[in-house]
C-alpha cells in the first residue's frame, strides 16, 4: 500500500489538508493549476468575522 498523498487544489482547503497530512508525517504532493497557491482566499483583503488579513 502507498502512503503518499495527493491534494488537488492549492486554495485554503487544499493548503490546510496538505499541512495536516504533512504534520502527521505523510509525504504530500500538492497540485495547483495556477502559478501560485492561495486560491480565492489570496484575493481577499480581509476575512470575517475577525477582519484578519487573508494572506
Amino acid at each position: 500500500m502507498n502512503r503518499d498523498m495527493l491534494v488537488i487544489g492549492g486554495g485554503i482547503a487544499g493548503i490546510q489538508s496538505s499541512l495536516d497530512l504533512a504534520e502527521m508525517g505523510f509525504k504530500v504532493y500538492l497540485v495547483e493549476r495556477l502559478p501560485s497557491i492561495g486560491g480565492k482566499m489570496a484575493q481577499l483583503d480581509k476575512t470575517f468575522p475577525t477582519n484578519d488579513c487573508a494572506i
Partner: protein
C-alpha cells in the same frame, strides 16, 4: 502558504494539472502534467527584474482584470512559489516575434524558452480534491447590467479595490472614473506626440502654428504647409476634449454610497436554488472595511434576509449596523439603470414602506453565487467520481467527505458552498479520512483475512 512552501513533507507542484488517475484506494497511479513555465524553478529567485522590462501588457486576472501585468509574471506579489511564469499566449518570443528582453535581464539565467511540459507519475495512497469554486457570472442576469454599467462590480472585484495591493491601492475609486483617467492618460500621450511634431514645424518655419493656421484660413499660406496644418487640425479638438475631461476629472471622488445586492445567482430558481452561505457575511465585511477606509461611507445591503449563522457572525452583523453606517434593507432589487454621472440607480420595492423606490448610489456590489468550478466535468471524469445535480462533487450524507470512489475525498467549495472556517475544518477532516485509507489497522487486517 509560506509553511507549505518550506515544509519538508510537501512537494508543491504549482502550474500543474492532474491528467489521469488509475488504480484503486491505497495504490493509485496518478499522472501529473507540469506545465512549462519557461522559467527554471530551481534558478529563479523571484526578484522580478525580468518583468520590469517586459514590453507586453496583459490583463491581470488576479485583480479581476482591473489592472495589467506583464507577459512574464508572478500570480501575485506574495505568491508561493515566487517563481515567475511566462504566459505563452502573450510572450513575444513564444509567439514567434523578436524580443527576449527578460532573458537578458535575468541575472540567474533562469529563462528557458525551450522548456517543455513535464509528465510526472506518482504512486499515491489517497487523494483529496479541493478544487474550489468559481464566481457566478452576473452577466447572466440582464437586469443587473453587469459589464454594461461601469459602476456595477462583483464582490471579488470590490475586494481587490479594498486591498492595499489592489489596482487602486485601497482607494475605492469608481470604475467609470478609472476609465476616464485612463482615457486622459492616453490622450495626453497623443497630445505630447503631436506637440513635438508641431514644435518641429514651428522651429523650421520660425512661425507659430496658430499664425499659420490663421494664414491658411485667409488663404495666404503657401501650400507646402498643408501637412503641418493637418496635424494642427488634429491637435485642436484633442486639446478641447482633454480640457473637458480634465475639468470633469476634478470632480471625481471615491465611492461613498455603496449598495450591496445579495443572492445574485443563488436562491434564484433560474440559476442556483441553494444559498451560497458566505455572501451575506462578506457583504457586511466589505461594508465595514469600506467604512474603515473612509468614515463618510454609507452602505445599504439589499437582501431577502441576512444569514449570519456562525460563531460570532450575528454580533458582527449588529456591529456593522451600529458602527459602520450599514442599513439592512429587506428587498430584492428588480433592476439597475444608469443615472446621471454614471451613478447606478436601483429600482426596488421597499417591503417595509410598501412602495417602489428608485435610489441612486456611487457603486453597486453584487454578492455573486458560489458556482461549481469550470472543468468540474472533466475533473470528475479524470478522477472517476460523480457530480451532484448542481455540479459539485457528489457525497453521501453518512460520509460527507467521501466521493463516489473509495480513497478519494473532497473538501472546501468543491464539496458545496462554504466559508473559510468551514473549509478549514473540512480540510482537516478530509486529511484524517485520507490517513484512515492508508493506515493498516488490526481490524482491517482481520477484514482482509
Amino acid at each position: 502558504m509560506l509553511d507549505v512552501g518550506r515544509h519538508p513533507n510537501i512537494e508543491l507542484m504549482a502550474y500543474s494539472e492532474v491528467e489521469q488517475v488509475e488504480g484503486s484506494a491505497g495504490c493509485f497511479k496518478v499522472r501529473v502534467r507540469r506545465k512549462a513555465r519557461y522559467v527554471d524553478e530551481a534558478k529563479c529567485t523571484g526578484c522580478g527584474a525580468c518583468r520590469e522590462k517586459c514590453p507586453t501588457d496583459v490583463l491581470d486576472m488576479y485583480n479581476e482584470g482591473h489592472s495589467t501585468r506583464k507577459a512574464i509574471y508572478s500570480w501575485f506579489a506574495q505568491g508561493i512559489p515566487s517563481t515567475h511564469t511566462i504566459d505563452p499566449d502573450h510572450c513575444r518570443v513564444l509567439q514567434g516575434k523578436k524580443c527576449g528582453v527578460c532573458q537578458k535581464r535575468c541575472e540567474a539565467g533562469a529563462i528557458d524558452f525551450e522548456q517543455k511540459d513535464k509528465i510526472v507519475e506518482l504512486d499515491i495512497g489517497a487523494i483529496i480534491v479541493a478544487t474550489g469554486y468559481t464566481v457566478f457570472d452576473p452577466g447572466k442576469i440582464p437586469e443587473y447590467r453587469y459589464k454594461d454599467l461601469p459602476n456595477v462590480v462583483t464582490a471579488v472585484e470590490f475586494e481587490r479595490f479594498l486591498s492595499a495591493s489592489g489596482p487602486t491601492h485601497g482607494h475605492i475609486d469608481r470604475p467609470s472614473d478609472i476609465l476616464a483617467r485612463r482615457e486622459i492618460a492616453e490622450l495626453e500621450k497623443e497630445e505630447s506626440r503631436l506637440q513635438k511634431t508641431l514644435a518641429r514645424y514651428e522651429e523650421k518655419a520660425g512661425a507659430s502654428s496658430q499664425s499659420v493656421f490663421e494664414a491658411f484660413a485667409a488663404e495666404t499660406a503657401p501650400p507646402e504647409q498643408q501637412q503641418w496644418m493637418e496635424k494642427y487640425r488634429e491637435y485642436l479638438p484633442l486639446t478641447e476634449k482633454l480640457a473637458a475631461l480634465r475639468s470633469k476629472a476634478e470632480g471625481f471622488t471615491t465611492a461613498k454610497r455603496l449598495a450591496f445586492i445579495q443572492c445574485v445567482g443563488s436562491r434564484d430558481l433560474r440559476f442556483y436554488p441553494f444559498c451560497s452561505g458566505f455572501c451575506c457575511m462578506h457583504s457586511i465585511k466589505e461594508a465595514i472595511i469600506a467604512h474603515e477606509h473612509e468614515n463618510a461611507t454609507t452602505s445599504v445591503i439589499f437582501g431577502m434576509d441576512i444569514r449570519a449563522v456562525g460563531k460570532g457572525f450575528d454580533e458582527y452583523k449588529v456591529r456593522g449596523g451600529n458602527k459602520s453606517n450599514i442599513t439592512y434593507r429587506r428587498s430584492r432589487v428588480a433592476e439597475i439603470v444608469n443615472g446621471p454621472n454614471n451613478n447606478p440607480v436601483l429600482v426596488y420595492e421597499d417591503t417595509q414602506l410598501q412602495k417602489v423606490v428608485r435610489e441612486d448610489f456611487d457603486l453597486v456590489i453584487l454578492a455573486t453565487a458560489c458556482a461549481p468550478n469550470e472543468g468540474m466535468k472533466e475533473m470528475a471524469a479524470i478522477l472517476g467520481i460523480e457530480l451532484n445535480r448542481f455540479g459539485f462533487f457528489k457525497t453521501r450524507p453518512e460520509n460527507p467527505l467521501d466521493t463516489t470512489r473509495e480513497g478519494i475525498f473532497v473538501c472546501g467549495c468543491a464539496h458545496s458552498p462554504m466559508d473559510i472556517p468551514e473549509s478549514v475544518a473540512q480540510a482537516s477532516s478530509a486529511a484524517s479520512r485520507a490517513v484512515q485509507t492508508v493506515t493498516v489497522t488490526p481490524a482491517k487486517l482481520l477484514k482482509i483475512s
